[in-house]
């Protein structure tokens, strides 16, 4: 009982939302769609996700929902690594970032908005 973080009250979080940000739901939806498409099995998902959660705990990451969904994202990136390379993902993340930065507020953000990006031009 000497580790107060570990015995943090659980019931106090009973009314906390299941998702803090929309990407967290999108991530689980994507994982579901990939299991449906047979890209990986539900067992591979829970094993990989579990390993990421253990790794996060071993690193001393705070035991909260943000750590949980970051572990889920790491698991998803790990399981799709054979289909999407790190370089490809990095390029696409940068393209989306530029698209958000160059789209005026209120307008839909699309990759088409990034002019001259060979990775994203239609």
């Amino acid at each position: 009982m000497s580790a107060p973080d570990f015995v943090a009250p659980l019931a106090a979080r009973d009314d906390a939302p299941a998702f803090d940000e929309p990407w967290q739901a999108q991530l689980l939806g994507l994982a579901y769609a990939l299991t449906q498409a047979g890209v990986f099995t539900p067992a591979a998902w829970s094993d990989t996700f579990g390993a990421e959660l253990r790794a996060a705990a071993a690193r001393g990451a705070t035991d909260n929902q943000s750590t949980y969904y970051e572990a889920a994202l790491a698991a998803l990136e790990h399981l799709t690594a054979g289909r999407v390379s790190d370089a490809e993902l990095g390029t696409r993340v940068a393209a989306w970032r530029r698209a958000y930065q160059s789209t005026p507020h209120g307008q839909p953000v699309t990759l088409d908005a990034v002019n001259g990006d060979p990775e994203t031009s239609p």
Binding site: L10, F19, W23, L28, T35, A37, S46, L73, H105
Partner: protein, 211 residues
Amino acid sequence: MAKHRSDDIAKIHRALHSHLPSEPALRVKALESLLVEKGMVDPRTVDAWVEIYTEKIGPKRGAQVVAKAWADPAFKTALLDDGTAAITALGYEGWATGHLEVVENTAAVHNLVVCTLCSCYPHSILGIPPAWYKLAAYRARAVREPRAVLAEFGVNLADDIEVRVWDSTSELRYMVLPQRPAGTAGWDENQLAAIVTRNAMIGTDRDLRTG
């Protein structure tokens, strides 16, 4: 100097208004767009899942299952015998691709569900697990000190009530069938479903309130 500062302010202003998502949000978006282009995933499946699990399911389906089990002894027998088949017959199969096992609380037994590995959960009937279900603290403590966890949720069990902890996996997920409270004779399924809490179906609630 003043000019420089106002340029900075304008830049910050533009940055704020661009609503740049967080790094993980960008990574999810990037991953999804690449997987869609590669034909590995149908974006409609992702969107449908998000819509259903953020807006529609919640634990209401689970509560309907419990209410039906209370009201219909044949359904209860079928549910305890083969949970997957019973919920499939109600049209409630889905994300919980593994098997569903329903465990029944009695006067002598209290059941508690956890996933010690990650957060396996019968999504198709209970929706998304609560925040605490996903914490390392719950995953560890539910097994190590279930009575203390239950007490924290206001469930103080007498010593002679046995606690059974069930560890969900991707292949086998559990749901607790709570005890039907006294004073509900003659209630219809919708009335019964209304008193079933999400936590009662996970096991962190026991004595359901009728009013």
